[in-house]
């Protein structure tokens, strides 16, 4: 077939098209699959740099209430109220999703395994419950994997990298302003989840030594991706009140 195009400037050859498609796919995949390069900490370090990666994770038992806006894989938007009870010392999370009118859509616990107390469609799909529980754990609990590196990325943001037994990677990145991001990558370094925690500019004070973000945004990447935007309504420190489940 004769090449198409303006001679001397740009010619289209079908054979080139085939390769171009492959190259495009490769570039798209490559763009989604790179772990950021970690630069070593260099003095002078910002105050508390060494411990900044710990900041996103709760150290004691809390009850959080959020308003949640979800964009589901089919593009549907749903608003809910979410109550999450996190007990880091037991690696336990209890997640209750309800409609604004008070209907409990999902009541599930992770305590070594996922236990569903109540679920109504579409939250009765086992895969969905499992995914939600893992999302909550990613947001609030320190990664269980082995720490494989720490340092600086993106203009002096602190980063800590954890490698899990299944080959997946979790990067915890904390910016100088306190906002943070947690990225989870598959064993092939494809990004799977991104969580961002945002603090109000005038509300960076901690509660009992812990810093709870006013807003959380989670993006699940991929074909069946979804997005959760969570605004904090209430954070109750259960450990300071002697409250237990």
């Amino acid at each position: 077939m004769k090449p198409i195009g303006i001679p001397g400037i740009l010619r289209y050859d079908p054979a080139i098209g085939k390769y171009a498609l492959l190259i495009s796919v490769f570039l798209i995949v490559a763009s989604c699959s790179s772990l950021p390069e970690i630069q070593p900490f260099r003095p002078p370090l910002p105050k508390g740099s060494e411990n900044r990666c710990e900041q996103p994770f709760v150290k004691n038992k809390w009850q959080f209430v959020h308003s949640i806006r979800a964009v589901l894989p089919n593009g549907q938007r749903q608003s809910m109220i979410g109550t999450i009870i996190v007990a880091p010392e037991r690696n336990r999370v209890h997640c209750i999703l309800m409609s604004i009118e008070g209907l409990v859509l999902l009541d599930a616990v992770y305590d070594q395994k996922v236990i569903v107390n109540r679920a109504v469609p579409p939250f009765d799909e086992p895969g969905m419950v499992q995914g939600l529980i893992w999302d909550v754990r990613l947001m609030f609990l320190k990664p269980e994997g082995v720490s494989t590196g720490s340092g600086v990325v993106e203009e002096r943001s602190a980063i800590c990298r954890y490698k899990n037994g299944d080959g997946s990677t979790v990067d915890v990145i904390v910016q100088l302003d306190g906002n943070w991001r947690i990225d989870q990558y598959s064993s092939f370094d494809f990004i799977q989840r991104s969580v961002q925690g945002f603090f109000a500019e005038d509300h960076q004070t901690g509660v009992l030594g812990e810093f709870i973000p006013e807003r959380l945004e989670l993006v699940a990447h991929g074909f069946m991706g979804y997005k959760l935007s969570m605004n904090l309504i209430e954070a109750i420190p259960l450990f300071s009140q002697g409250l237990s489940e």
């Binding site: 209750i96 008070g102 209907l103």
Partner: protein, 200 residues
Amino acid sequence: MRRFFFFNIVFGFFFLSSVWAVTLEQIQKEAAGVFSVRAEFIQEKHMKILAKPLVSTGVMLFKSPKSVRWEYFQPVRSILMMDNGRVKRFIEGENGLVEDLGPAKEIMQFVLQEITYWLKGEFDSSSNFTTSLKGERTIVMTPKEESFLKVIERIELTLSDQPGVMDRVRIIETQDTYTEYRFQKTMVNIPLADVLFRKI
């Protein structure tokens, strides 16, 4: 599946009766005399695992025969409107109130349809509950179907001293989990413009 979402039926119980009515027939007769209601409400969700109940506040408007506006102010602003059977639901997002087009709309259409039966005291029009009077002040509604009973144990409506006004509705899911709606500043048979049920 729709029946699982029947929790929200509180909307419908607002002014079914008065303390002076002693039979369901009398309740229906009194309800027939009410053509509009406005009341503020406090919604409390109680669960054993919660350190304290989740509290929401809002206002409810009803206009006979089939118009309802159920509006939350806190913690998430949302408006559910039914205008002569047509339902719209709006929830506040980053860009203000946005119409909710998800499956919840279909569910709420069903819920509000049921509500209109109760607002008129027409208990027989709904095949979902067995209704009885407990003392002089409380109407107890029990789901008829086993599958529904697994979700809602019963619903209790506590009547006010004022004819045509409800004090409290409690939707009991289990012994430890229930939603309570307390009504206050109730006004009955006041003029309510149709636009309140059509526009946000």
